[in-house]
Symmetry: D2
Subunit: 343 residues, 4 copies
């Protein structure tokens, strides 16, 4: 941290700031220019509260030199984190393709969808049993019954299950069914949930909050990682901006940024990022071209009758076409779409 003193700061103010920094267990390095003094904070004590130093008399500005996340950073862990999923390593050359309906609606639907997406080349099956809905009057998911259907679908197809968890109390129960726990965008800073999921030691797909910065996403990951649960996949799913032509604005820049500053795999969610099925294939290709480690795509047998997110769901045949396109594109950027292990 660097403390920039104002041009008019008195010697007394400068020595008070130094004393305060030392109290906090840090050392200082003084840089006395002609115009102003700049104080470097050296060492590693307890987390420094930048804001408090800013309150001291004579201080003009306090600037952070390091980023606030540790375990999530590439400096801490230079190699890519690899997370096994259905025979591939997410984060490696192999692209993960997670597909399925927004909501599990009934037993037949989810099993048929699982077969369809496996045929098309999916690595894992997504499906929501607990649904975060803006309206209390909208369909809220089938709950544990939905999880049971997902488990049946896995049994039939071999596809691992990715499903959202909203209630920290239900983590043990959901872990019995799910292979990957999904944290939704609205819960990215639900710290009670992050702690519970961190303790579970279950793989996690952590979605970026719709107005969260890349740094805040990594801080949320840090909550999970700090419990020793290292199997965290980050998910870019679009952010909220002033543009209304699409449901969200897909922050494609975030993919190379995250890959540079973190070692965690990055999955793209073009379904939520666009909100319209017409754009899903093109934005999926863009995500792969930008370096994403995988995709999560909403697929529905009959979008016009979906309980949720029908507007952005692909029919199985369109999903299959998307996977074909991904197979052609992947080698251009050093990736591949592996043939699924599951028989």
């Amino acid at each position: 941290m660097i403390v920039v003193m104002s041009v008019n700061a008195s010697a007394r103010e400068i020595s008070d700031v130094i004393a305060r920094i030392r109290e906090m267990g840090y050392d200082v390095h003084l840089s006395e220019g002609k115009e102003r003094t700049i104080i470097g904070v050296i060492g590693r004590g307890q987390p420094l509260q930048q804001d408090l130093l800013a309150l001291l008399p004579g201080v003009q500005q306090v600037m952070r030199v390091t980023h606030p996340y540790k375990i999530a950073s590439r400096e801490y862990h230079p190699d890519d984190t690899l997370i096994p999923l259905n025979g591939i390593q997410v984060g490696s050359e192999d692209l993960a393709i997670i597909a399925g309906p927004c909501s599990v609606e009934d037993r037949v639907q989810i099993i048929e969808t699982a077969h369809a997406v496996r045929e098309a080349g999916a690595t894992a099956l997504r499906g929501g049993a607990f649904k975060p809905r803006t309206s209390p009057y909208a369909f809220q998911g089938l709950g544990e019954e939905g999880l049971q259907y997902l488990a049946e679908a896995r049994e039939e197809t071999g596809l691992p299950i990715v499903t959202e968890i909203m209630d920290p109390q239900l983590v043990p129960m959901v872990c019995q069914y799910a292979d990957v726990l999904q944290i939704g965008a609205r819960n990215m800073q639900n710290y009670t949930l992050l702690h519970a999921v961190g303790e579970s030691q279950h793989p996690v797909l952590l979605k970026r909050g719709m107005s969260s910065t890349v740094e805040e996403l990594l801080m949320a990951a840090e909550y999970i990682l700090s419990h020793g649960n290292t199997r965290v996949m980050l998910c870019e799913r679009g952010i909220r901006t002033f543009e209304t032509a699409t449901r969200n604005t897909f922050d494609i820049n975030a993919i190379p940024v995250l890959k540079e500053i973190s070692h965690l795999p990055v999955i793209a969610d073009p379904s939520h990022a666009t909100g319209k099925w017409e754009y899903v294939e093109k934005v999926s290709m863009a995500a792969i071209a930008a370096g994403a480690d995988g995709l999560i795509i909403e697929v529905h047998l009959d979008p016009e009758n979906a309980q949720s997110d029908g507007r952005q769901s692909l029919k199985p045949e369109r999903f299959a076409a998307l996977v074909e396109k991904a197979k052609q594109l992947a080698p251009v950027v050093g990736r591949r779409v592996a043939a699924p292990v599951t028989a």
Copy 2:
């Protein structure tokens, strides 16, 4: 809802849309123009999924005519909701002034602060025992011990307690100590928590999410209200924008908007909205001038040594000056700052 058919929609497409709407339990009203057909959806069945109709062939656009919240709307409840708090009715002529530290740090701090803010004219005491912090390495609050100190402070000063709740499981415990449950901005769409708080029947201060629209804030309130818990205060605390001169952008427009479309009281939080104590008084006055029903202000005995949010906390004497100013301003806009009931 209104379904606008495209200029080229065929008769068959139009009749299919009509059939679909009827299947959903609604009636239709047809408007056949020279250029295109427009279909009005009439009646009240189960919540209509606007998006699904948009998927039908020949449909250009589907437009919502009504808003999605009900109990929170002024049409449903034309009179202002009044919520008793320490002898005043929040939502009436009397302004509620909630003040206290960001975090409860120790017993002496919270009791002294309680005395100071009561002296200055506060209606209630705020203080966090469970803190949602961006970093897992930052101070997370004293937990139940903090609640016990808050209860002591109430005993000594008579000030009711407003405190944040993050874990749905802890609602019964927190209700034993708190007079008002605060839902923080990060948890505004934590539906598990909203349900638990709704069931508690305890008064709630619901903060707007940092990138939530006014409509989404009312939908979050609707979750609580739909459990029969009608004592919900809305809180505008600034939204996230591109501007970085202040911590957030205080959406002053939201105050008259919320007062017009909802009957629930609106509290302003200038501390979080600005992030700098220097601006808190001016923005507080602006909030009252715009029609807010009260303020929630961070006050700390020694901001330079605060465990959190010191940068935006007022010292007690500055808070007292703010209340004096509020007393002068209030009558101009038909309000008053009542003398506290507490002895």
Copy 3:
């Protein structure tokens, strides 16, 4: 400027950065910590390109210590700038109240409106003759004819004229009619126009761009000020955010921020900031309470038939009520609404 070297920077990289800074005519101050070296840039050469230093090997981050505007800053000019307008000094205790229609529509309209707003207590008359319209098919203003009507309205009422200028070539012509040149939000970074207006030495009302930061607004002002034209009023008129309940989000925080860091007067535009006449009075009061030096309000004799912005225009009687309210509020915040000088 401060250059933070990365933890692994070599001695060679450090000395190269130092050499580069000296080449640019600056001196350096070295701070060698245990972990990393930090280089302070000292002195005042030509404007430093922060980005270029960031490209040098071994550099982790380059941080700016000073702000990029000079003449607009309060350090450069500690006292408030006062700008005479119809007998008051804008920036002093007296609030400036500028009112009138969005567009000049015809001779009778603007003269009648001028009388109405003068009666109600306006300081100056606004009215657009050149209109920046999103659509090329919308009414584009009366041009010079409109300016002539404005001049007639001034002759009859004594109210000075505030009118928008869009074309740099027309500055001399518009100056013949206008007392204050308005730069609209869309043109805040139209540098050709800023230069022309700067050279005119005419008073300027500079509107903040709809997605411009406070710093960028001051940089735009700097363009005008750097031509020796010091009579610049800044105008906060709402910024673009994700919220759609109002036309823009009024950044009330910007008022105390601008008053702190700059000496230029700040005018608030609640008409554009809300987009709906129902909210204009409340947000006007908020602006005054937050410390604005004046208001600019759209007033139309017959909003339902206005050529533009009818939705946000007040009828004269509502405007008169607003001014009455402002008269009551002003003394609470150390201001007053002066009786107009004009006979």
Copy 4:
């Protein structure tokens, strides 16, 4: 347009709205539901002012059915617009690759760069002679001298010139040198400039404003098109959001959206969209994968000494690598990078 009357609207209010619509030269279609009346506006008179109808008593909401741009829409012009540039047709299978420095700095620089980018496969040369700079103290470009150097570079390499125009008065002069006139993001709604450029009949590269919607971009294009100048290329260059990890947020969704609703070619600018050269190649590939018709890339011989935008400029060898990658990617999405015609 559809006018939704409120539930309590009286018969008189309804008939008044109808009368008003007829006055404006439109016909109406009435849809009387059980709850409310909905009025469809039929026909094509002068542009309807939606806002004014919203002011009439009894009106709840006015909704637009059609988009406000005409000539820019795909309905008006179903086939892709093709714009010849150096032997290819922009908007066809052939990708346009425009490259060069942010600013023309001197004669040797621009000629050397032109050779380098032509070698690498560029279709056209970019370079700014008039620079819109946030600070009045920053390098403002070489002016006409810069244009002369660009013309020399074209003579030597055959590459057509793309250069920014800021001053409407200079359009005739700039047209003598430039092959394509660039309108920068800050000037997207500088209507005086749009008119002048429209009248020039010169090809235009129109950059999206940093907080402009896709619809506003098309409205700005409409200004140019309405002068009969049909050779307009749209350019997505990133929008302003809350994220600060990159200079802007590249709105990749905008590419398929624009290609669907408009017939104009879409060029992507990954240099401004990211602000850091490290991300330019990946985001360029994403843009092509999403369906862009071309790229505009900042290339500098010596970024560390660039007068502007060095941070985001590629060195020629990296640009050459990017073009190689584009050649591999293009066929996967039905495109190609043509060998330049120029000898």
